[in-house]
């Protein structure tokens, strides 16, 4: 039941929010995200005590054999936790801002949370597809209504890209469904299909394109930098922190176990694409002057590594990618919070116009440095654990590929440190001298992030334990 509650809380509060006025939406958003976090923690404890009790199923469309079948495994709990934390952080950060038409803003945010949690918990392919779309629609409106200057065409591109991808996935799902002996969409049926290799090889692309667009990996990434740049920062946090994980999650949950031979056949192709993406995005990140675009490209590079690690398909890389999904989410949300803070005070995104913030806002600078170091996976930060595992997994798969991907670390250090230097060090100018240091709510949000970064960097075992059950499962099928 906890799983259903996890979807219902944001859904119901989200719908309620549309009717509220004044500061009502803000408060309700905060309450809802706290409640979600509490339920996830409850689910976490229940999962550790009795892993199989979190499933829930009722008939949904009996004519099709589709069920409302939700449940949580280790990876699901981890991603729901990430979602809950992400939304809480976003709501805390923006608590002192006012948005035009506030009730719709918070309502849509909460609805997208419901969609995300649904994606991470669905154990029925049709339900998965419905939630997959449901998560997208609110984001489309959020970006188009509260975004930057070019928001409408940019967001539309994003929408069409992902919608086209997911329709292909739908065809794949229908095909798989029709192959199932008992005409059901359930995860158990799908994973026991054992289709012939020839069918797996083309079905793989029907499903994978949807996931690849969402992640995004090269060459499906062209929507991403524009969208991140044009979206309002709270939405970008959700997009880059949580929503891109939908693609990775989809591959681990629905692609590898269902079409193992297809995935094996195309692993080399996907990995080469991912590695190209890492190098290409890192190089572009180095020459960016726009703060938001820099983080966007850095995200493509990180996701590329994660995607490569999935297809290396050994235990270490799978462990690594799952841990990294969580950590990347936390780190990148941290970076966006800093961007949001700087942007709301100075209203510039161009890093050449910034500088010397360390002198006027020391607390902000310390936070930014720690988060940036975690972003380049320095030991003792959370980023290190995941990247180490992924690289060692990649190494086992193919040394040369790992070597090229490893260049990404160096390049990441180049652009991240370069960014730090431009933004917080150096001489302050007339504009940056006016910066004020952090407010209490911002300190709270950033400290939460830094605590997670350090805690998981020093002692990652709980997280590794949590996802190990999923790793074993996927490994077994593979």
């Amino acid at each position: 039941m906890l799983t259903v509650l996890l979807i219902l809380i944001p859904l119901v509060t989200g719908l309620l929010t549309f009717g509220l006025k004044g500061s009502g939406p803000k408060v309700l958003g905060l309450i809802s995200s706290l409640a979600s976090l509490a339920v996830v923690l409850g689910a976490l404890f229940q999962f550790r005590a009795a892993p199989d009790t979190l499933h829930f199923a009722v008939n949904w469309i009996p004519q099709l054999g589709s069920q409302f079948n939700v449940g949580l495994d280790g990876m699901g709990v981890m991603l729901c936790l990430l979602t809950a934390i992400a939304f809480l952080l976003v709501f805390i950060t923006i608590f002192n801002r006012t948005y035009e038409n506030q009730s719709s803003f918070y309502g849509l945010m909460l609805l997208s949370q419901a969609g995300l949690v649904g994606v991470f918990t669905a154990y029925d392919a049709l339900l998965f597809y419905v939630f997959w779309e449901l998560a997208l629609i609110p984001v489309y409106f959020l970006c188009s209504m509260w975004g930057g200057e070019k928001r409408v065409p940019v967001t539309f591109k994003f929408f069409v890209y992902t919608f086209a991808g997911s329709l292909l996935m739908l065809v794949g799902i229908i095909y798989l469904y029709l192959q199932s002996p008992d005409r059901s969409f359930s995860y158990a049926t799908f994973t026991s299909l054992n289709l012939p290799v020839k069918e797996q090889s083309w079905l793989f692309w029907l499903l994978f394109v949807a996931f690849a667009i969402k992640m995004p990996i090269f060459p499906f990434h062209t929507w991403q930098p524009d969208t991140y740049e044009q979206s309002p920062t709270p939405v970008t946090m959700i997009l880059s922190g949580v929503m891109v994980k939908m693609g990775l999650f989809g591959v681990i949950r629905w692609l590898l176990p269902v079409l193992p031979q297809g995935a094996f056949m195309w692993a080399d192709v996907v990995m080469v694409l991912s590695v190209i993406g890492i190098i290409y995005a890192s190089c572009i990140a180095i020459v960016q002057t726009d703060f938001k675009r820099l983080i966007a490209y850095s995200s493509i590079a990180h996701i590329g590594l994660m995607c490569a690690a999935i297809f290396a398909n050994n235990e270490q890389s799978l462990q690594g990618i799952q841990v990294q999904m969580f950590n990347h989410g936390i780190n990148i949300i941290g970076l966006w919070i800093v961007v949001e803070i700087i942007q709301s005070r100075l209203n510039v995104k161009n890093m050449d116009e910034l500088g010397g913030i360390a002198q006027v806002a020391p607390r902000l600078s310390i936070f930014l440095v720690i988060i940036s170091l975690a972003n380049i996976a320095l030991p003792l930060t959370n980023g290190f654990v995941g990247e180490f595992l992924m690289f060692s997994g990649l190494f086992q798969y193919n040394m040369w590929l790992m070597g090229v991907a490893g260049l990404g670390i160096i390049l990441a250090a180049v652009y991240t440190l370069n960014m730090l230097q431009k933004v917080i060090f150096g001489e302050s100018n007339a504009l940056t001298a006016t910066t004020t240091d952090l407010q209490n709510s911002e300190v709270l949000a950033l400290s939460l992030i830094v605590v997670v970064i350090l805690a998981l960097g020093v002692y990652p075992k709980p997280m590794l334990d949590l996802v190990s059950s999923t790793t074993e499962l996927v490994n077994k099928v593979f």
Binding site: I61, L134, F156, I174
Partner: protein, 457 residues
């Protein structure tokens, strides 16, 4: 049977009512009551029907499927009267006649969903068509309306001729009009049969405006009074499809016969999808966009005819319901906006939030976004074709076309929500509001739980 009798009688009664009642409001309410009667009578018959079906004089077959389809059509018409009924009087003086003609069309559709003789098919198609020629030209002083009527009449007559020719050839080959006894697939195939089937495909493709027989559609839809376009593009079109589906699923299957027409129809469907969607992208007026979108949606419904299985028959019911409700609703909104161009919708969300919300949900449904009725409609027809097995290319093409359709549907949403403007909007009564909300609820309920409708099938 109930619904056929009651709609035909209602048509006749309404013609006389026009002589004695001059209050147009009253005529409208009377028409609404009559369609409600037909709807309820049909539901009663559906719930009391014994066994699978019963045949009347070898001419009509009353089946559960047909009755369910009738219920959907009558329900859609009810919604149409409620939403658009007050627009009738803006077209011209003879309000009662317009309502009467609509009832005649309905009785034609009731025939189309139950015919078991080719003669009845011909009768059904004609009863559906002739009132439409009149309705298209109802705005007598408008040149475009006259053009639409004449064009439709000339082209329609040709297609009727072709239909009749096809029926004659089939009769010549098999010696019977009864669609259950044709049994064409069993023996050696007569050349006349193939000719007959092709002619029937062309004639019916014309009626449902499939490419390349679609050229009349944009002009007729654009020229006709908008309120009648709404009806022609939805209920009437679905009626054409039910005839198509029934004929091909009953008579032209079994044995090797479907091989002779499946590819032709698949190519027609593919062309309809591609051309309908691509042309809709370039339209500047929402009304014309909806005309091309109706061609594109016809391509999807053709997939159900091609698939030839149980899923397809369920799919066509769901598709007819989803498509009719959403399109009627969209036309309802359109008629409240004075300017039919995309710019005319700019800033509607600020001025009329409910109108914009309703339009958004209808457009979502037309685009096939999950949790709206349109999603499951598309799901069923796609699923039916995948099940059929050999036409996966058509499914992929359809899916790409669905992605293209997002472009023109979302243009309206973008105009309403993300652009500033001062649209001129007609008076919106509380009754209109209520009906709009009901339509929204129908779309969402069918999208969340399609079993509501399918449990009857």
């Amino acid at each position: 049977m109930n619904s056929l009798i009651s709609t035909a009688l209602s048509g006749v009664v309404l013609m006389f009512v026009g002589l004695f009642v001059s209050n147009r409001q009253r005529i409208k309410y009377f028409a609404i009551a009559l369609v409600l009667v037909a709807f309820v009578a049909n539901l009663l018959e559906l719930s009391t029907l014994q066994g699978g079906s019963q045949t009347l004089f070898g001419m009509l077959e009353v089946s559960k499927f047909g009755l369910l389809f009738n219920a959907v059509m009558l329900g859609a018409t009810l919604l149409y009267f409620l939403l658009c009924g007050s627009e009738f009087e803006k077209v011209g003086e003879h309000v009662a006649d317009y309502f009467a003609l609509i009832f005649f069309i309905l009785s034609g559709i009731m025939l189309a969903s139950g015919f078991s003789s080719l003669l009845m098919l011909f009768l059904a198609i004609e009863i559906i068509s002739i009132p439409q020629y009149i309705l298209a030209g109802a705005d007598k002083k408008n040149l475009k309306s006259n053009e639409a009527s004449l064009k439709y009449f000339l082209m329609g007559s040709f297609s009727t001729g072709i239909l009749l020719m096809g029926i004659a050839l089939i009769y010549g080959a098999s010696g019977t009009f009864n669609i259950n006894e044709l049994a064409l697939g069993t023996g050696e195939l007569h050349p006349l049969t193939i000719g007959g089937i092709m002619l029937l495909i062309f004639a019916l493709a014309f009626k449902v405006s499939a490419v390349p027989f679609h050229f009349w559609t944009p002009d007729v839809y654009d020229g006709s009074p908008t309120v009648f376009t709404a009806f022609m593009a939805t209920v009437v079109k679905a009626g054409g499809f039910i005839a198509f589906l029934r004929l091909f699923h009953v008579s032209f299957t079994g044995g090797a016969i479907s091989q002779h027409w499946l590819l032709v129809l698949a190519i027609i469907a593919a062309a309809t999808l591609v051309l309908g969607n691509l042309t809709a992208v370039f339209q500047q007026s929402v009304k014309r966009m909806l005309a091309y979108s109706s061609i594109a949606q016809a391509g999807f419904m053709l997939l159900a005819v091609i698939a030839l299985n149980e899923t397809a028959t369920q799919g066509i019911i769901l598709y007819a319901a989803a498509y009719s409700v959403a399109t009627i609703g969209m036309f309802g909104v359109l008629m409240k906006v004075k300017d039919y161009t995309f710019e005319g919708f700019n800033g509607l969300a600020r001025k009329q939030p409910l109108l914009a919300l309703a339009a958004t949900i209808f457009l979502f449904s037309l685009a096939g976004i999950p949790l709206t009725a349109g999603f499951f409609a598309k799901y069923f027809v796609l699923s039916a074709v995948v099940q059929q097995g050999n036409l996966l290319w058509l499914v992929i093409l359809a899916v790409i076309c669905a992605a293209i359709s997002v472009y023109y549907y979302f243009r309206v949403i973008m105009a309403m929500y993300f652009k500033a403007g001062e649209p001129e909007v007609g008076v919106i009564t509380p009754a209109f509001r209520t009906v709009l909300i009901i339509a929204i609820i129908i779309v969402i309920v069918l999208g969340v739980y399609p079993g509501v409708l399918l449990q009857w099938a």
